[in-house]
């Protein structure tokens, strides 16, 4: 899976250079690409704010449309309440007109009945893109980098999320700010489920504070972050444009607070 980060990186770099003498925030607009290989699923994340609405039919461009509704790019949206997916196919307006016998349809996602879908995929949310076509699809996301304080609420069970900022670094780092629920006995810890597009499988890791990791893995000097079953520390740094699940095992919710400012 290839990603083009140049645009965002260039925008961020330009911003940093231009503001070295003064400390202030400014809007940073950029884009990133996520390639979905033929016949594969990729767990994408929205890390840019397009228009404060961020409809799934608006935020992605470059998807594959098939007038006969066979090989269209399909989005699998996670419904937190039901803990289930909903899936919709992407059509260009012309293909939607053709397939659903419509007139003047817009580019975007449609359900099987031909209803145009405007469900949001907000900044910090994730979804699967499935590419049934025989050629790779490159989805492009355009928007503004979310600066300031970004709060992502993680309720009990599974939340499909992404870092709210287009940076690939350890989500337990100070920059990302994820501090989850930890249990010294390894029972009630938050679990990150990361989708590996190459093998089309999940990897899962538990969150521990350093002291809890020391206790659980009979170790010393551990730090906050994600660990595998054997106690190996995992640098959990999803690529730009990727999402992941957080499984909050215990009842109630917690908030992932990220503070990010381009100076």
């Amino acid at each position: 899976m290839k990603k083009t980060l140049l645009a965002v990186a260039a925008a961020l770099a330009a911003s940093v250079i231009s503001s070295q003498a003064q400390v202030y925030s400014q809007n940073v607009v950029g884009y990133y690409n996520v390639t979905v290989p033929a016949g594969k699923f990729v767990l994408v994340g929205n890390q840019l704010n397009l228009d404060n609405t961020n409809s799934i039919s608006s935020i992605f461009t470059g998807l594959f449309s098939d007038a006969n509704a066979v090989t269209n790019t399909t989005i699998w949206l996670w419904n937190y309440g039901s803990q289930q997916y909903s899936s919709y196919q992407y059509f260009t307006g012309a293909d939607a007109d053709n397939n659903f016998l419509l007139s003047g349809a817009q580019n975007g996602f449609y359900d099987n009945s031909g209803d145009y879908i405007t469900s949001p995929l907000g900044v910090g949310a994730g979804a699967f893109l499935q590419n049934p076509a025989l050629v790779p699809v490159t989805a492009t996301v355009v928007g503004t980098v979310a600066q300031g304080t970004n709060n992502i609420v993680l309720g009990h069970a599974f939340s499909l999320v992404a870092s709210p900022i287009p940076v690939s670094t350890n989500i337990a780092s100070a920059l990302e700010g994820f501090v989850g629920t930890s249990d010294p006995n390894g029972v009630n810890n938050d679990v990150a489920w990361v989708w590996n597009a190459g093998v089309q499988q999940y990897s899962s890791y538990q969150f521990f504070t350093g002291s809890d990791a020391d206790n659980n893995f009979l170790a010393s000097g551990d730090v906050n972050g994600f660990y595998d079953n054997s106690g190996d520390y995992i640098n959990l740094a999803p690529l730009v444009g990727n999402g992941f699940f957080i499984q909050h095992v215990v009842a109630g919710s917690e908030t992932w607070t990220n503070t990010f400012t381009v100076q």
């Binding site: 066979v70 196919q89 659903f100 016998l101 499935q130 989708w195 079953n229 054997s230 106690g231 190996d232």
Partner: protein, 209 residues
Amino acid sequence: MKKTLLAIAAVAMVAVSSFAQGNILIGDNSRGIWNITSGTPLLNSGLTWALIAGPASTAIPVAGIMASVPTNNAAAYSSATAWTDITQNGFFVVDGTNGLATAGAVSANGSISYNNSTAFQASNLTGGTQYTMYLIAYTGAFGSGTVGWSAGFQYTPGTGINTPNGGNSMNASGLTPFGVGTVAATPEPTTIALAGLGGLALLGLRRKK
């Protein structure tokens, strides 16, 4: 309204075919597998584990010996008998990432982590089908040496983009800590008394000579 129902059906078939695989994620928490002592259990890195599966909601075939082997103070049991039972009643060793039977080393802290904590398709499991599973660990080669086992638990391999077993780890599903090794049975008082009588009798015979 729908122009081509066939096309939609074709899409559905594509989706179904991509969801036909059964994926499992093997792992066990630290302190999950111990060797047995009569006192404090000791972690042992010299053990190998394997995952066994069988029909859903079925007692594991070694339950006749013990439902699971405790981590200490276990009653003496016969590993030879256990090896005979382990794959009885429709139970089998789950295939690993390479298509061969699962096997791996137990970590020094008593945990196991397989395939870098990444799920995989076990070729002899079916996605969406529930199984009774249990974990064994043993010294030496599979089928010989000392063996111990966990309690049985229910596990449903995942399909497609669904998390294996609904996101419930093997520990969360009932995989229990267990020990490997037999403790010499403590002789009962009557046994000790008989041994003492036998010894005295031998002394008596020697004096007569």
